[in-house]
């Protein structure tokens, strides 16, 4: 460095926390004597540097001794970096000219050998001094926040979040992949533990969302690309062609009445029922406009038919309609894209797909739903036979090393709900095959006891096999569940008419790619990672992007709603700030040195690096940059520098650390 | 008491050398030592590098003739991969090489050797340099020499990618070809080069052969040695610089051996002396008998003269005429007079220029078929070319990935280390009597080895370029009797 800095060194006792092991006085003295050429002009030790008195000590030196740099050796920067930066600020020194190194968490607390610990403290201090000499005055970046919000996923979590924000008076774009919002909850019959009708509580919210002046509902749409950064995202959304002109459609329903083409509904009815080629997924769908399923529509296959067009009273059918690509500007994004049901076919020994009367939980939801294919009659696949004995298998695809190790959280309660409904509507014998019963929430345990009283059988054991291979009398035409009752250690063969697989929850297919689109990270399982598992469960590592509902991990409706609301609250908080300050730890490309080799281009997960074909140079967008420094380390031309963690800072810190060498003979002398 | 004369460093040769001349009490020459003071050890540190890099690394052995190392290494790599370079690839390499040859021979004749003859061995030192040459034969020649160098380097860059240290030869051929426009340009430059070569021969003819004193000097005994002669030849025993077999003829002109590159180790061995970093190659069959002449001594030389001696002729018409004239004038084959090497060099210059045009006018020279992808597993390969300063041998062993595990280099000038040493001693003994040393005589000592155009940059991987000469004559007690200087510009 050309001009010599004046550095103050402050070594903290932290009561006895540090001084108990490290000879603080010696360290401070050593720094004063040995680090002169590095620019140390004053070095003090003090009981509690973080105390107001300690801070005043620093401020006094800055003023009186004209310090240009401050180096504090105390606790972890994660604890008090801000404290000391502010102290410097208080003395009109740029806060970023201060460095805090830890001689507590990384020294006094973890070592017992006082001599070694003191030596290490010296090394750490000398490293800090060498580093701080290369610090630069920095200003936090301030960016304005666009008041609109993008909510991806129209399930209960997304709806809740959208409504909270919209009600607060800010605009929301609610994007849903399916023709209607509602998500999985719309498929359910009853909700545990209260057993109130799912539709009854969900529909009003759907309608609100549909009519809300502050909500732009984008169903049958998907987010294809997200550019920008917190406060200033631009989302590219593909609004798929419905073949129905929304502004003209009244949702009268004539078109799907007249449509001659029946199609098995694999989505909403999970293959249990049918719909027309032009359809709304379910009666209470929001919005009410139908969609023409171009894959199955006769017109799109053969070029003839057009029945719907003929009969439409408002000429709302438009076969030529094309996908619409729209860009929306938003300040924050909430992801609530939910989950996929575990595919029970993967567990072959359970026979789903092969044995007709093995049902998945979602199939059963439709079966028991009054608006479902059987009008709520719980019957076998043949559509008429009422089962006399029904088994419910818990933890299908969950808590299982072969599939998913995690617990899907909702299956126990769901299974109990099923048990109740079966019992109530068919009077059949119900068997629950479980590993553990987990009912940790308000009213859940009570519900479990209610079931016990209703006389439902509970068999504790993991089902080995479900088959139609009958051996014993009375088994004819039955499904046989092979299971060991681990409480009695007896092998059981339970003959049943119907088996319900309480399948677990899995991340949406392609969630990893999806996460990439938004520049956030997934766990190994594929659930999106929150900023902090306890203290920040709805934020992500990417500023301005929040998660709610099952996208973050399996959870039930109340938890999803709570997260939706929580995410909304966080977004509202941000919007209220109008602008935010970003840490000025950023990468910068020095154009005259950049060769445009493009090696850095694939190093940034936040798409902060753009390449200018015209000038053949790469550039880092400072607001997009999160400051990880990977591109700085990656640039072969050394053309990228990183504030706060520059090469000079790190290299001199290394030199400083190694001034004190435990194995001198190993040093190159 | 003995006197010691130190010539350090030697002037006007590309490299670093030191001559120690010891006089006996009568002031006559007791012995002479020619020492090479440096070694860089390429054989060691190319180990561990992939074989395709040899042509790029060994380039750096010598910046005077990097093209020669580039070619020898590339050919060794071809051999290691057992890959046949497509005809166009071979021609492009040879074309680059001919342009280099013409440039190098020109530089040597006009800047280094020319002064001795054109200006005269006993002319004032201040005139015995390129400028002197220019005065003697006319100013325009200076421009022509520069032009020749420019043209040569232009072609080298067109095909080799760079003026110095070419980079395009890889196992199986080259990384690029040439366009028709480039071909035309190259052809024109080649035709100019032929004229230049003929002009040079004419100048040599008028000034040197026309002058009885010079002719006597050339034919005189001082510069005569009876040794073996080495040179590469094609299937018709015509001299070829880029490819062929190495032929060695004896002092009697009869063929001793004609070996393929991969057989070199059966025929060449290198003798070691503790007072120099350079080794002394000799014909293995004949054996090392010390620094002596004759059919029983394995000493051989590899220079333009030896190449002509080892061949039955030259493959291009004009050069062949000169070849015949050469032997007619000097009384038949083989020619033993070292100073005739300068003439031989000019004949090679003409051959190179003619071959240059031949190649540049071949219809296939612009074909895109300049590289064949190797398919065999590399093992071991030898590559030999004729460097201007002697036969250059590169030999590499590789593992199955083509990574060099061992290397051996027998480099141009090294071939001539023994004969040079002998020439120096003979010249010194003849020219220094009774401790009486004068500058002209010393220059004639230099002429003895300058004929070989030694490049110790190659030989030692040391310092090429010309070094000034200073001779200090000392008594044993170190008292300086006399200091002689000469200036080269």
């Amino acid at each position: 460095m050309e001009k010599k800095e004046k550095i103050g060194v402050y070594v903290c006792h932290c009561g006895t926390n540090i001084a108990g092991v490290v000879n603080v006085g010696e360290v401070s003295k050593w720094a004063e004597e040995n680090l002169k050429d590095q620019g140390v002009v004053v070095s003090r030790d003090y009981k509690f540097m973080c105390s107001s008195l300690g801070q005043e000590l620093i401020q006094k030196d800055i003023k009186e001794q004209g310090l240009t740099r401050v180096m504090v050796a105390a606790c972890s920067p994660h604890l008090h970096e801000k404290t000391f930066r502010n102290a410097c600020k208080g003395a009109d020194m740029n806060p970023y000219l201060c460095e805090l190194v830890s001689i507590r968490e990384q020294d006094s607390w973890v070592h017992t050998d006082k001599v070694a610990a003191t030596e290490k403290a010296k090394a750490i201090v000398s490293g800090g001094v060498a580093r701080v000499a290369h610090h630069e005055a920095l200003e936090p970046l301030r960016v304005p926040i666009h008041p609109a919000t993008l909510v991806v996923g129209g399930g209960i979590a997304g709806i809740q979040a959208a409504l909270e924000i919209a009600d607060a008076g800010f605009h929301v774009y609610l994007v849903e992949r399916e023709p209607s919002i509602g998500g999985h909850m719309a498929q359910f019959d009853k909700t545990f533990p209260t057993l109130d009708c799912s539709a009854c509580i969900l529909t009003p919210k759907m309608v609100d969302a549909g009519n809300h002046p502050n909500i732009t509902l984008l169903t049958y749409s998907e987010v294809e690309k997200v550019d920008g950064y917190v406060g200033n995202f631009v989302a590219t959304i593909r609004k798929r062609a419905r073949s129905v002109v929304e502004k003209d459609c009244t949702g009268c329903g004539i078109c799907w009445e007249k449509c001659p083409k029946k199609v098995v509904d694999d989505v909403f009815e999970v293959g249990m029922g049918t719909r027309k080629a032009v359809y709304v997924p379910f009666p209470q769908a929001v919005p009410k406009y139908p969609v023409i399923d171009r894959v199955n529509c006769t017109y799109y296959i053969k070029g003839t038919c057009k029945a719907c067009e003929k009969f439409c009273p408002t000429n709302a059918i438009d076969f030529a309609q094309e996908d619409e690509i729209m860009n929306v500007e938003v300040g924050n994004i909430i992801l609530a894209t939910g989950y996929d049901l575990f595919d029970s076919r993967r567990i072959q020994q359970y026979g789903y797909g092969r044995l007709p009367n093995v049902f998945t939980s979602l199939e059963f939801e439709r079966l028991s739903n009054a608006a479902g294919p059987t009008g709520g009659n719980i019957v076998l696949r043949d559509g008429k036979t009422v089962p006399k004995a029904v088994g419910i298998v818990h933890c299908v695809g969950s808590r299982d090393k072969n599939y998913n190790e995690y617990c899907s959280a909702i299956c126990c309660m769901q299974s109990l709900k099923f048990a109740h409904l079966v019992e109530e509507r068919t009077g059949a014998e119900v068997y629950n095959f479980y590993i553990d019963i987990r009912t940790p929430a308000k009213g859940y345990e009570e519900f479990y006891h209610r079931l016990l009283e209703e006389g439902t059988h509970f068999v504790r054991g993991k089902v080995a096999e479900i088959s139609d291979a009958t051996r014993l009398p009375g088994e004819d035409g039955k499904l046989i569940v092979q299971v060991e009752d681990t409480l009695t250690a007896v092998q059981l063969r339970v003959p049943l008419d119907m088996v319900i697989l309480s399948a677990g929850l899995e991340p949406r297919a392609g969630s990893k790619e999806f996460a990439k689109t938004f520049g956030i990270s997934c766990s190994a399982d594929g659930w999106f990672i929150e900023r902090h598992p306890k203290l920040d469960p709805v934020a992500t590592m990417t500023e301005g992007i929040y998660i709610a509902g099952c996208v973050q991990g399996p959870k039930d409706i109340p938890a999803s709603v709570a997260q939706g609301a929580a995410a909304a609250a966080r977004v509202l908080g941000k919007i209220q700030q109008k602008e935010i300050a970003l840490e000025p730890v950023r990468a910068t490309v020095h154009e005259e040195q950049c060769s445009g080799c493009r090696i850095c281009n694939n190093l940034c997960p936040f798409n902060a690096i753009l390449f200018h074909e015209d000038r053949m140079v790469s550039e880092v967008n400072p607001a997009l940059c999160q400051g990880c420094g990977t591109c700085v380390a990656g640039c072969p031309a050394g053309a990228i520098s990183g504030t706060g963690f520059s090469n000079e800072q790190i290299l001199s810190q290394i030199e400083g650390l190694l001034l004190v060498n435990l194995s001198k003979e190993a040093a190159a002398v | 008491m003995t006197q010691r004369i130190t010539i350090d460093p030697i002037t006007r040769l590309e490299g670093h050398g030191k001559i120690e001349i010891f006089l006996n009490d009568d002031g006559d020459v007791a012995n002479t030592y020619f020492q090479i003071p440096e070694l860089r050890g390429f054989e060691r540190f190319v180990v561990g590098r992939p074989i395709e890099e040899m042509a790029l690394l060994t380039n750096r052995i010598c910046g005077v003739c990097p093209e020669a190392h580039h070619m020898a290494a590339a050919k060794a790599a071809d051999a290691a991969y057992k890959v046949e370079v497509p005809r166009t690839g071979k021609m492009l390499r040879e074309l680059l090489y001919m342009a280099f040859y013409a440039t190098d021979h020109t530089t040597h004749f006009y800047a280094l050797a020319g002064p001795d003859f054109i200006v005269g061995p006993d002319a004032p030192v201040a005139e015995r340099n390129i400028l002197g040459v220019i005065h003697k034969v006319g100013l325009e020649i200076g421009g022509k020499v520069i032009q020749m160098r420019k043209f040569g380097h232009t072609v080298v860059e067109m095909i080799g990618g760079r003026k110095v240290h070419p980079c395009t030869s890889i196992p199986g051929g080259l990384t690029k070809g040439i366009t028709e426009e480039q071909r035309k340009e190259i052809e024109e430059m080649g035709r100019w080069a032929i004229e230049f070569a003929q002009f040079s021969l004419q100048a040599f003819n008028d000034i040197v052969l026309g002058n009885k004193t010079y002719l006597d000097l050339i034919l005189g005994d001082i510069y005569t040695h009876q040794t073996y002669y080495m040179g590469m030849v094609d299937e018709n025993n015509h001299t070829n610089f880029y490819d062929g077999k190495v032929r060695v003829v004896g002092p009697d002109g009869k063929e001793l051996v004609k070996y393929a590159p991969n057989e070199y180790a059966d025929h060449i061995a290198e003798h070691v002396e503790p007072w120099t970093y350079l080794k002394f190659p000799y014909m293995k069959k004949v054996g090392w008998k010390g620094f002596v002449d004759g059919a029983d001594s394995g000493v051989y030389m590899a220079t333009p003269l030896s190449r002509l001696n080892a061949a039955d002729g030259l493959a291009t018409p004009r050069a062949q005429e000169e070849y015949d004239k050469f032997y007619k004038t000097l009384g038949g084959k083989p020619v033993h007079q070292r100073l005739a090497t300068h003439w031989a060099r000019l004949i090679e210059l003409l051959y190179a220029a003619e071959r240059w045009v031949e190649l540049a006018t071949d219809p296939e020279i612009t074909s895109p078929d300049y590289h064949a992808i190797p398919t065999a597993t590399p093992t071991e390969g030898v590559g030999i070319v004729e460097a201007p300063r002697g036969t250059l041998t590169h030999h590499y062993w590789t593992d199955e990935r083509g990574v060099v595990t061992k290397a051996n280099l027998v480099v141009g000038t090294t071939n001539n280390y023994a004969p040079i040493t002998m020439s120096i001693k003979k010249a010194a003994s003849n020219l220094i009597k009774k401790g009486n040393v004068n500058e002209g005589l010393l220059n004639m000592v230099e002429m003895a080895f300058r004929a070989y155009d030694p490049c110790f940059g190659c030989a030692t991987h040391s310092l090429p370029g010309q070094m000034p000469l200073e001779v200090t004559v000392r008594k044993a007690d170190g008292e300086v009797l006399d200091v002689l200087k000469q200036f080269v510009d």
Partner: protein
């Protein structure tokens, strides 16, 4: 009045630098016109002794090429440092050791032993050259080789660095123009320690090949593929050092279809050349799976030799080696 004095010298080099200087052709005359050339073995005669006789600092500009391989090289380097106001490390050898610096991978013993035990060497008594050897007529001396080859600034203080193996002639011409302009008061000298006669970026900056976001599934040897003549070589898996190598050569080798081998050394401000290539090549590998990464890396033969092909003598790690300190 007398013209400022100019000198040029080579230590352990191949002479390519001298040839490159000669290749500036008529520009040479400018040198002659503006300088009094007092020491330039390739061009004119003058001895060490004459240089020793000069006043310290009496030479204005000295271009020094070649590495420091033996005591004689170091002696001349120190001599010229004393006599010169401006000492330029000229060419790769003086800057960073160049190819001869690869010898620093081996011990000097290995280097010498290898040279004197090749298959064609006839050396039954296993003789090695001696720095002093007694012959009947007297003792013969040759210089002592150092254990490692050093760069110029490892033995003397250097004012400017001019990279390249050899430096490109157009760059040499440009530098000579600059110096002449300075002499005429028309220009300023760059700050001490600056790199001259080269660009501030890397070879890709001057390379005409098309480039995309770089991701590589395997590295290729140049002779094993028929490369696309338009596309970036590295993107075709060819280990081209261009991204990390200082610009200034007009991307000679890549333009000729050959990979850059790095003769212009590190870019402006780079601490360690090889480290940049470790970053670069690590960065382009298109895999997050160690089981996949390693096979890809196997495609790079002896990476240290590639990353430090010209730079070993100047590298962080080698500069730290105890062996360095000897001879100082």
């Amino acid at each position: 009045m007398s013209k400022p004095k100019f000198a040029m010298y080579w230590a352990a080099s191949c002479g390519g630098c001298e040839i490159a200087v000669l290749n500036i052709h008529e520009k040479i005359l400018d040198v002659d016109a503006n300088f009094d050339v007092v020491f330039w073995p390739v061009a004119m005669d003058a001895k060490y002794k004459d240089v020793e006789a000069m006043e310290d600092g009496s030479i204005l500009l000295t271009l020094f090429n070649g590495g420091i391989r033996n005591d004689e090289n170091e002696h001349v380097a120190k001599l010229l440092r004393r006599k010169s106001q401006i000492l330029v490390a000229f060419g790769s050898c003086a800057n960073e050791g160049c190819v001869p610096g690869l010898a620093n991978f081996s011990s000097i013993k290995d280097v010498v032993d290898t040279a004197f035990s090749t298959i064609s060497t006839d050396n039954p008594n296993n003789i090695r050259p001696m720095t002093a050897y007694d012959m009947p007529e007297g003792t013969l001396h040759i210089p002592t080789m150092y254990p490692v080859l050093k760069t110029l600034d490892q033995v003397v203080d250097v004012d400017y660095y001019m990279p390249g193996c050899p430096p490109e002639s157009h760059q040499i011409a440009a530098v000579i123009d600059l110096v002449i302009q300075v002499l005429q008061g028309k220009a300023e000298l760059p700050p001490k320690g600056a790199t001259i006669g080269a660009g501030g970026s890397t070879v890709c900056d001057e390379c005409g090949r098309k480039r995309n976001v770089k991701t590589i599934k395997e590295f290729n040897r140049i002779q094993m593929i028929q490369p696309d003549p338009e596309l970036c070589l590295l993107e075709q898996g060819i280990p081209c050092n261009g991204p990390a190598t200082r610009s200034g050569c007009n991307s000679r080798c890549p333009s000729a279809g050959a990979q850059c081998i790095g003769c212009y050394g590190p870019a402006e401000g780079v601490v360690d050349y090889g480290a940049r290539l470790v970053s670069a090549f690590g960065s382009v590998i298109d895999s997050d799976d160690p089981k996949e990464i390693d096979p890809i890396l196997d495609g790079l033969v002896a990476p240290a030799g590639q990353f430090y092909r010209f730079n070993l003598a100047g590298s962080l790690l080698r500069a730290a080696k105890p062996a360095w300190k000897s001879g100082d």
